[in-house]
């Protein structure tokens, strides 16, 4: 349903961030997008959701198609209306709105009022912690609570494709597990396709069907999740397993600057 074809993205006319990224999200699948800090994962998501424009960024080459329609020149509102919703990184809650209002904003474009009410309750069921705080101004929530709210808000739109930018960021371990269960459930129940950017590679590859690894603005590796998990580099750099398969201790990390990345 979503095809990103060899796009290049340039910020402020001078800073080139993506240098030819292609990926594919097909109906109802979960796709993981992995990569180090600054690889361009967030930028890729922004390119899809049309959010680049407000940051002086631009897709200078390549194209993005959604259901066969080319969307890389559309505004973010139009793209959202087509059924793509993004949970942005950095816990972007609407601070001065209450938790409930935040969720309502998420469902703004939906007409089915009754269904929206039910969805709010559903979100509260997934995240009981924020249910207690439903009248609280969201700016006062703790980091993790805000993260739950952002995910909940993205879900409220009932999109066909959801772009999740690091959903597990700052969540307690118990909750990370839950979140992934929820994502998997939504994916299977609502046939919602998900493009997932994650640093928690273990969890992401656990539910994803397919994965891409980005490096320096390029896709350097892709394949079905199972195959990626077995890739030697992925195992070492992302899963923290040495060749033998045992886990290293953080105390014993070596003091030299290590070999980095696939491509120089």
């Amino acid at each position: 349903m979503l095809q990103v074809n060899n796009i290049e993205v340039v910020y402020m006319n001078v800073i080139q961030v993506l240098r030819g990224v292609s990926l594919d999200v097909s109906d109802g699948k979960i796709i993981a997008l992995l990569g180090a800090n600054g690889a361009g994962k967030t930028t890729t998501l922004k390119a899809v959701s049309g959010m680049l424009r407000t940051e002086e960024g631009e897709v200078t080459d390549g194209s993005i198609d959604f259901d066969g329609e080319r969307i890389d020149r559309y505004g973010p509102e139009d793209i959202a209306a087509m059924g793509i919703s993004q949970a942005m990184e950095g816990r972007r809650v609407l601070e001065h709105l209450s938790v409930e209002e935040n969720l309502l904003v998420g469902a703004y474009c939906r007409k089915d009022r009754a269904e929206v009410k039910r969805d709010i309750e559903r979100v509260f069921n997934w995240f009981p912690k924020i249910k207690q705080l439903r009248r609280q101004m969201s700016g006062y929530l703790s980091g993790g609570e805000q993260q739950m709210l952002v995910i909940g808000r993205a879900l409220m739109a009932r999109p066909r494709l959801m772009l999740l930018d690091e959903p597990s960021l700052g969540l307690a371990p118990l909750l990370v597990e839950e979140i992934y269960e929820i994502i998997a459930r939504i994916n299977s129940e609502q046939r919602m396709a998900i493009l997932l950017v994650e640093q928690n590679v273990r969890a992401a590859l656990g539910i994803a069907d397919y994965g891409y690894v980005m490096e320096n603005g390029r896709v350097v590796l892709d394949g079905p999740a199972e195959k990626l998990k077995d890739n030697e580099d992925v195992r070492e750099f992302y899963l923290g397993l040495s060749a033998v398969g045992s886990k290293k201790s953080y105390r014993e990390v070596k003091h030299y600057r290590r070999r980095k990345r696939w491509l120089a």
């Binding site: 950095g90 993790g144 969540l171 909750l175 640093q199 750099f237």
Partner: protein, 272 residues
Amino acid sequence: MEKDRQVKLQIDKVSLSFGGVSALVDVSLDIRDKEILAIIGPNGAGKTALLNCINGFYKPQKGEIYYEGQKITRMRPDKLARLGIARTFQNIELYTHLSTQDNLMAARHVLMEHNFIAGALYLGWAQKEEIEHRQVVEEIIDFLEIAPIRKRIVGLLPYGMRKRVELARALALGPKVLLLDEPMAGMNLEEKEDIARFIIDVFEGQGASYPDTPVLRDGIRSIILVEHDMGVVMDIADRIIVLDFGRKIAEGTPAEISSNPEVIKAYLGKEK
């Protein structure tokens, strides 16, 4: 625990609430010289609130906080920074329009002395001081391996890099106590390893490799780490404190904590 080790920071029955929400309830703990103390707990347990109390941003309704024996409970945050308490933030709080280097220089503020008149004239003294501190900043940049982004505007850096700059800025304050609020969130494993190594290196001190920068040379002897990644916490913390609903529910070594049933129920979940 060795009781004779000097207590750096003592938190005594601190309670904090916002309207109806109690963020902290009678929390007592202390951090001693030469230790990395981890604070863990579910989301909304009050970890960040506790750090905010320590550095004066929140004023607790009850209880007292002592730093090296001095009562600091209602002190202004900037005074506490001068006393040597530095921190990083959960939702990155950098000076977005400054370069990495200037962010660190801005933290050196507390250790610099020239005022705006000397600065305006930029003669001898001010220039000398600027250069001196610039040297320290460069050492920190070198230590944290952020030289390539030295002159980049931090607002545009990727998430992980900004976290690292925050750590650098905290070090630039030259603190004696370092509070870290989820320094590794949003990083992949390899980057977490880097940060873990930096924390350990800072804790241990680097001696002669960074002769001009006291924090790096002698190390920071007391570090409080708030983090959700259990792997990291278990590996590098000397002692762990667990908060839940604003209360301290457990305290102990990593081994003790990981087998504490209450902690498993509230926070860790079943071991897989």
